[in-house]
């Protein structure tokens, strides 16, 4: 594969487009959080928020400056690599967020390791046996687990496996993990709950992609060569559907970072999603911003990666 100039330009264009989205989100989030009723001074003081106390605190935190000025200050800091400090805890937000991000990435990674193969296998087998009883059963099952609220799945799982059977811990606290066994035990329920949410979507999309590929004439050709279904899928189909599959996976993975507030909350798992909910509640804008940057960045990173994979794979197949 030759990385010629046109290809590099195309990749740069994709990355550039993502940066546009990132900037858009950053600006939007800043101003949206700025118009939320109340600010961090109110949130810190709570019931003790008398006007003079609020005003004094606001002044000390630079909150009495106009929104635009605060935005400029924030952007300026950003350009110098300074993401700011939390208005609540006065700790650097970068450290706070990255600590949580690592936890989230761990959970997301383990979930992906489990859910992606399951979804791919389900989607592929459903595509091979499409419109059969098996296909319909998979469809029904995946829709069911997607539609039932995840707090119910999570709670039910905890009640059965932790409370009734005493098999697994009810909480997925990071601090308790000191062996592979306890790691698996702690993560099994959150991971299963999350997998329920994303497997449905992933397997449905995989099925569609696979049906598309299986209808192609090179698959028919492979059948007529005497190839087995497994050989056809692994050798012929997979290399062709890498790009759309990657796209499917990317969309689901981005959900695993930001969309897991409930799982984090039920299992008391210190991830970044709950940090962002907290920071919005506390109106801790620098923290909100960095969380938004991370979510948006992760999403754009994954989709951009998917776009580039698609570009490279189509480059190999169609360009001449």
């Amino acid at each position: 594969m030759t990385m010629d100039a046109a290809l590099i330009r195309a990749i740069l264009r994709i990355i550039g487009a993502s940066l546009v989205s990132l900037i858009f989100v950053t600006v939007a989030v800043f101003f949206i959080t700025a118009v939320l009723p109340g600010d961090v001074a109110d949130a810190l003081l709570g019931q003790a928020a008398t006007p003079d106390a609020v005003a004094a605190l606001r002044h000390s935190l630079n909150l009495d400056k106009p929104v635009l000025v605060r935005f400029v200050i924030w952007v300026n800091g950003l350009l110098h690599g300074d993401f700011g400090v939390s208005l609540v805890s006065r700790r650097p937000v970068l450290a706070m967020a990255s600590e949580r991000l690592i936890h989230s990435l761990l959970l997301a990674g383990v979930t992906a390791l489990f859910a992606v193969p399951v979804a791919l296998v389900l989607g592929t087998t459903a595509a091979i046996f499409r419109n059969t009883l098996f296909d319909r059963a998979v469809s029904l099952l995946t829709l069911c687990v997607v539609s039932v609220p995840e707090f119910l799945i999570a709670t039910l799982a905890v009640f059965i496996f932790s409370v009734q059977l005493h098999l697994l811990p009810a909480l997925a606290s990071i601090s308790d993990i000191h062996s592979i066994g306890s790691f698996l035990a702690s993560f099994s329920m959150p991971v299963t709950t999350l997998a329920c949410v994303i497997v449905g979507q992933m397997s449905r999309m995989t099925r569609a992609v696979m049906i598309d590929a299986l209808g192609s004439s090179w698959v028919e050709m492979a059948v007529l060569k005497g190839a087995s279904p497994a050989h056809i899928i692994l050798r012929h189909v997979i290399p062709n559907v890498i790009a759309p599959l990657f796209n499917v996976i990317a969309l689901s993975l981005s959900y695993l970072l930001g969309g897991v507030v409930i799982v984090e909350s039920v299992f008391h798992y210190p991830g970044i999603a709950s940090l962002m909910v907290d920071s919005v509640a506390a109106r801790d804008i620098p923290l909100v911003q960095i969380c938004a940057l991370i979510f948006c960045g992760a999403y754009l990173f994954l989709t951009t990666l998917a776009d580039i994979v698609a570009l490279l794979s189509s480059q190999r197949r169609h360009a001449a």
Partner: protein, 271 residues
């Protein structure tokens, strides 16, 4: 539109999904009228009561009649989520098709905007919207439609991209047709199957989002309630096996899964 096209449109509305949608809509409108009690009324001193002749689905965490609450919850869930989904998908499909048709700057700007919206976790966007504008029905509907529009946009843009390349769209453009005509008459009718399947999926997401919002303590204002809130507020009943938590969860599953299976069956997948 001629009689033939009208007949075609009518024929295109599939029988099974049509009947199912009609059933749920009727239930949504008539359900609250069938309720045996007032939705806020405490009818029993026992909370999480099991099924009985008096209370067909038992009582909830405050001792209210679950059947009554379920009928009301179904009503608002169906109406609210359907409205939000329709708004989201109408907007998403229209913009997606326009983007595919116009391409260039329009496409880039729209796509960047949609990517931005989609990259913020949906629950969070909803939370912020409620924090900023309060949790009234219009705010929830608008927030949900804005949250789910980008997904619909992406899907329909992809679908439309393959259609706008077809020669009949080219023919219409060469004739000098306006974008609106091309979208509505040339492109949309040819992607209705997959779009409907997508609508079904977004409907699930809307129901889920509403449920999850109730988990975070925002959502519909009492005495209105939705199926997710019913599940959530009675979650403690789970340990007693109370119908108060099982009934709304089952209703959600039957509603969303049934609708999706019906819409899927109509997808017109090549065999």
């Amino acid at each position: 539109m001629t009689v033939a096209s009208l007949a075609r449109w009518w024929a295109a509305i599939p029988r099974i999904p049509g009947a199912l949608i009609l059933f749920w809509l009727l239930l949504a409108v008539l359900g609250p009228l069938l309720a045996p009690f007032a939705p806020g009324e405490v009818v029993s001193r026992t909370v999480f009561a099991p099924i009985s002749a008096h209370h067909l689905l038992g009582t909830d965490y405050l001792g209210r009649d679950v059947l009554t609450r379920l009928l009301c919850g179904t009503s608002s869930t169906v109406l609210l989520c359907a409205t939000a989904t329709l708004l989201a998908c109408t907007g998403g499909v229209f913009l997606g098709t326009i983007a595919a048709l116009k391409q260039g700057v329009t496409d880039t700007l729209l796509s960047r905007f949609m990517d931005g919206v989609i990259s913020i976790p949906s629950l969070l966007s909803a939370l912020v919207a409620v924090a900023a504008f309060g949790s009234s029905v219009p705010v929830l509907v608008l927030a949900m439609s804005l949250i789910y529009m980008p997904g619909s946009y992406r899907t329909s843009r992809m679908l439309a991209l393959s259609i706008v390349r077809r020669d009949f769209v080219l023919a219409a453009r060469m004739r000098g047709e306006k974008a609106g005509y091309i979208v509505l008459r040339e492109v949309l009718p040819n992607m209705m199957g997959p779009v409907m399947a997508d609508v079904g999926l977004r409907f699930i997401y809307a129901v889920r989002l509403l449920s999850n919002l109730s988990f975070l303590g925002v959502g519909l204002q009492p005495p209105l309630t939705d199926l997710g809130s019913l599940t959530r507020e009675n979650l403690l009943g789970l340990v007693y096996g109370a119908p108060a938590v099982i009934a709304p969860a089952l209703t959600i599953a039957v509603l969303t899964v049934g609708l999706n299976l019906a819409l899927d069956s109509n997808r017109g997948e090549p065999d």
